[in-house]
Amino acid sequence: MSKAPSLVEVSNLTRVFDVSKPWLNRLLEGEKRTLLRAVTGVSFSIGRRETLALVGESGSGKSTVARMIVGLLPPTQGSISIDGIDMWAPATAGQRQKLRRRLQMIFQDPYASLNPRWRVDRIIADPIKAFHRAADRGEIEHRVGELLRLVGLDPADGQKYPHEFSGGQRQRICIARALSSNPEFIVCDEPTSALDVSVQAQILNLMRDLQDRLGLSYFFISHNLAVVKHMAARIGVMYLGRIVELAPSADLFKTPRHPYSRMLIDALPDLAMSGRQRKPIEGEIPNPINPPAGCAFHPRCPHAFERCQRETPELMASGMARAACHAVAEGRI
């Protein structure tokens, strides 16, 4: 393949986890294997310099998608290709190594994702050494200083240990580490949900500046719709392992199509104090081990009808967006 229009191409991604009891227990208690479908048939693409976000409540499978994309978790089915190279079945082993340099990840908890026994400069230099991005020690040192300045820290901070920094500063270190291999694509799994709002604002602004400066593409995961709207051009809403709606950000907030997206947007706190009453969503996310038949959302959906209980809806175009809902497809809502 020469030049693909989009950088990341994810098609029909599915992941099943085996959560069975141990073999002996199953034998004695006469139980079958228990399978959990964390992600089912997820497809999307991310263009260069674009941010795509996935939003959903806990257990919706968004982090599992992220881990499959960076190669931390093999998919059960489906494929991920980055710049035309298949992540899980590359033509050569060297290709995969090259691919890995081009994508990095920022994790949720900046307290757990930095080695407490390493100095910051060693943490940031690690990817540079692993991918042979510098010729000698002097060049590494220079590059680390440059990266620290890029994320708003002082080059002298490289001599300190992670515990000497606040949560926001640690997240900056994580970003510097992610940038040290000159990636094109960064997967961000809830990068600000452990931070206070004012620090969150600093990090979100920084991430957007870096995107403009370095031409990065982001795959952004969050449970916070407002954060996602601020960061992403397109948003996918996940519910029980499926994307139920994929729409341009402004479009999703103006005219949400899927009843679940509508509910999520209705549930946002009214900060402008316009007097809008938010409608609490009834019920809770069902157990993914035993999801409802048909559309997984139908037990909570105010528009559910007979077809929703028997047939799983596919993503269908509706205006600028795509929604997986029978009611939308039939024009009922």
Binding site: Q169, D196, V197, S198, A267, L268, L271, E284
Partner: protein
């Protein structure tokens, strides 16, 4: 005006260390009227949870109240004997914590936990208490309460557990409910349910609420008045509508601008407050916010501002008496 349910005056909380006493909450005063919901908002380390813990007498040693007083309906409660305080806790002040799993005992059925609490606070038979527990569970929206009463905490989801915790906190009809980050551990959809529930129950019973959270959205939805805390002090306190829409303190303004909102176009940059909250060991002289404030002048660096009336709120900022309109 009738007597406030809770009245906190010049409260100072500190932690003695080898290098001297660290002051975590420094001279804060506020009232909560009957049936009122006061939101206490601030970032981590602002001292909001400590204030809640001090009111209910649950400060973890070595933390202790250094100065000031706490009155509940006119009765001073900060200097009570532990035993007297224990009787008051639960009966007159209810508490809801962030994590519903650690607030419930995993080894007891939830019905038994509620019955035990009811019987501790009022002299009723086990059968009456059990009936009351079922009624309470129905009230907090647990379906099939009569059978669910025999379930263990692990059999409930996070949202359901928080409902049970709320039932526990309200079972003795307290005058005041302290809710410390009650919805932080929950998903947005469940968060909306729990907030609606707290609002409904407390309005029905006329319970006053001290709602501690870092989430301005939750405050805007729930509270009547809000106190914004910064570095152990109240930066601004006033009716929630005024504080959210026309904040007077530069910190509040920065905080409001930093929140990404669904209403604002995504192209706008978030307001950035430079720096971070000072450590307890290095709280700046004068106004604690002065190193991060865009409007700092000489007086801010030497003299500490107390909350001063401005419009319908109070703001602890020297720009207020200067009469300078703080334009963003």
């Amino acid at each position: 005006m009738s007597e406030p349910v809770l009245s906190v005056r010049d409260l100072k909380i500190g932690f003695p260390t080898r290098r001297g006493v660290l002051t975590a909450v420094d001279g804060i005063s506020f009232d909560i009227a009957a049936g009122e919901v006061l939101g206490v908002v601030g970032e981590s380390g602002a001292g909001k949870s400590l204030t809640g813990a001090a009111v209910i007498g649950l400060l973890e040693p070595p933390g202790r109240i250094l100065k000031g007083s706490v009155h509940l309906k006119g009765q001073r409660i900060d200097n009570l004997e532990p035993e007297t305080l224990r009787r008051l806790r639960g009966r007159r002040i209810g508490m809801v914590f962030q994590d519903p799993l650690t607030s419930l005992n995993p080894l007891y059925r939830i019905g038994d936990q509620i019955v035990e609490t009811i019987r501790t606070h009022s002299n009723v038979s086990a059968a009456t208490a059990s009936e009351r527990a079922i009624a309470l569970l129905q009230e907090v929206g647990i379906q099939g309460a009569r059978s669910r009463i025999n379930a263990y905490p692990h059999e409930f989801s996070g949202g359901m557990r928080q409902r049970v915790v709320l039932a526990l906190a309200l079972c003795a009809d307290p005058d005041l409910l302290i809710a410390d980050e009650p919805t932080t551990a929950l998903d947005v959809s469940i968060q909306a349910q729990i907030i609606a529930l707290i609002k409904r129950l407390c309005r029905q019973r006329g319970t006053s609420v001290m709602l501690i959270t870092h989430d301005m959205g939750v405050i805007a939805e729930t509270a009547d008045r809000v106190a914004v805390m910064y570095a152990g002090r109240i930066a601004e306190i006033g009716p929630v509508r005024d504080v959210v829409r026309e904040p007077h303190h530069p910190y509040t303004r920065g905080l409001m601008g930093a929140i990404p909102s669904a209403e604002v176009a995504a192209t706008t940059r978030l307001t950035q407050i430079p720096g971070s909250m000072p450590r307890l060991t290095a709280i700046p002289k004068g106004c604690a916010f002065n190193p991060r404030c865009p409007h700092t002048f000489e007086r801010c660096k030497v003299e500490r501002p107390e909350p001063m009336p401005v419009a319908r709120s109070h703001a602890a900022c020297w720009l207020v008496p200067e009469g300078v309109g703080v334009e963003p």
